[in-house]
Amino acid sequence: MGTEEESRAASAESFHPSNEDIEKWMASAFDMAKDALENGEVPVGCLMVYNISEPKPSPFEMFYMVALDQLLDWCHHRNLDVKSVCKQTVLYVTVEPCIMCAAALRLFNIPVVVYGCRNERFGGCGSVLDVSSADLPQTGTTFKVCVGHRAEEAVEMLKTFYKQENPNGDQTISSLLQIFFLCIFSPPFLFVFFFVPPPFTSSNISWRHLCYKYTLCRASFQHHFLETLHKQF
């Protein structure tokens, strides 16, 4: 038992995406964000990549892209242990996950999170709180953070989105960062990060509208997910 546990721990320790991986998968995340922007959705892209190199019967290193709400199903269907899959999974997202999502990532034992720009309002990987590395022995495992990949571009997209939504609004970064981060009632929580600029959070639109909007967003994500998967194989 001991040796197996140890080797697993060791592989989790050394598990880190290469620069090419980051380049490639962040490009996918940015494509998703761009797509969302073109469809009037919140331009935040997020995907999870599971790297199985251990069984290696295949000549190729295989990557599966999995969204977190599908992660459980996906594992169950393949009779895989969720925990061990998560330990080999990298989350790529264009914007820093909020405090809640960062905690959720810990609870899923995701070891590495790569993100583009910081989220000064809600960020849980150092901007508001550092949940990713905090000493919380009962809240899953800590995760490594790679930050700054194409950060300006991620901010630029959010800015553009904000301008579209509020043509008369004041387009300063600080007001941009007033965004409300609604990711809570999105069942896959982690894979759609939902931004809504301030006018939308006031009483003129209830959370229910956000949920509806979210549902659309989720559908488009799944569509995209399948498409990307298709391209991969």
Binding site: I99, A103, G124, V128, P187, S203, W207, R208
Partner: protein
């Protein structure tokens, strides 16, 4: 029957067995901290107002506005009745020997009437609570703008007996849900969301993390509240103890009629939870704009007082009041393994 009365007393009505204490912000909970300063005795009482005026212009003590400049001498039987704060030790000029002459430039303050300086410790920032004020005042007189509600809350006396009885009943529902979770092999945590304006329970939920690692009691409960408003993302139908007041009026209400009064899922609602929420749940409560949170016991990784104070975290766009200690004994007992 005698035993039943006892039981009823013990489980439902015994509101004296617990005390709700507020979980305050870092600034309100930590000690105010002390910094060193030079003070000097006022030898001639009649010079006091002139000395204060002149010292204020030479050493304005900016950032220490809460400090009173003059205090009554603490030593009994001292020849001089008053002492005045001269300056921070860090603001003082370099001196070979500490003396009042080297502290004060000759043109700014006429030192007659002042004795030789000595070092005192003064509170570094204004006290925010009565305990902080009392501690700070031991060192040097300090002004204090008292928040009466905080003072009363810190004494555990904020809630009236009828309010406590209601809190007791709500937490009992949470405890019951926690017991149901425990029976199913989940973590023994239960939560209840209440609308305090109507005194109606909106949702009861418990931990379901054996099914999904994120289905903590608070998350379950918030999703059930969303469901009561026509939303929600999960089905907890297979858990009989996870309930929401999905009444017929909720169905018949036009979505837009209460949309304006219900901008967020938990606006104006109170949460009762048997154990301090973790950081994920605490942030979910921020996102859903909970009104107040009442919990039984602290948790090692708790984010409403233990590891973090998410409810009073600077930079976040929603803050809320938190009280701990509600039915603490019953909540604590949930963690004891049951002999079956």
């Amino acid at each position: 029957m005698e035993p039943q009365t006892k039981r009823w007393k013990g489980s439902v009505c015994d509101t004296d067995s617990w005390v709700p204490y507020p979980v305050l912000s870092d600034e309100q909970s930590q000690e105010v901290g002390l910094i060193e300063a030079f003070a000097a005795p006022i030898l001639d009482k009649k010079e006091t107002s002139r000395l204060v005026r002149e010292l204020n212009s030479v050493y304005p003590l900016s950032g220490l506005q809460h400090i009173k400049r003059v205090r009554v001498c603490q030593k009994e039987g001292s020849p001089h009745p008053l002492e005045v704060l001269v300056c921070r030790v860090s603001d003082a000029p370099d001196m070979k020997v500490i003396s009042i002459d080297s502290l004060l430039p000759s043109d700014g303050v006429r030192c007659n009437g002042l004795g030789e300086p000595f070092v005192v410790k003064v509170p570094a920032r204004p006290p925010l609570t009565r305990p902080q004020f009392e501690l700070a005042s031991k060192h040097w007189p300090t002004s204090f703008h008292e928040d009466k509600q905080v003072t009363v809350a810190l004494r555990g006396e904020l809630f009236s007996p009828p309010q406590k009885a209601a809190m007791h009943a709500y937490m009992m529902s949470a405890v019951a849900a926690a017991r149901a979770a425990k029976k199913m092999g989940m973590e023994p945590v239960g939560a209840v969301v209440v609308d305090p304006s109507t005194e109606r329970i909106i949702a009861v939920g418990h931990d379901c993390r054996a099914d999904h690692p994120l289905h903590h009691a608070v998350m379950v409960c918030i999703d059930l509240v969303a469901r009561s408003q026509g939303g929600g993302c999960y089905s907890f139908d297979r858990y009989p103890a996870c309930l929401t007041s999905l009444t017929s009026d909720a169905f018949h209400n036009e979505p837009d009629t209460d949309a304006s009064s219900q901008p967020y899922i938990c606006t104006g609602y109170d949460l009762y939870v048997t154990r301090e929420p973790c950081v994920m749940c605490a942030m979910a409560l921020v996102h859903s704009r909970i009104g107040r949170v009442f919990y039984g016991n602290t948790a090692a990784d708790g984010a409403l007082g233990t590891k973090f104070r998410v409810h009073s975290q600077k930079d976040l766009n929603h803050h809320f009041e938190v009280y701990r200690g509600i039915l603490s004994k019953q909540c604590e007992d949930l963690n004891v393994p049951t002999a079956t």
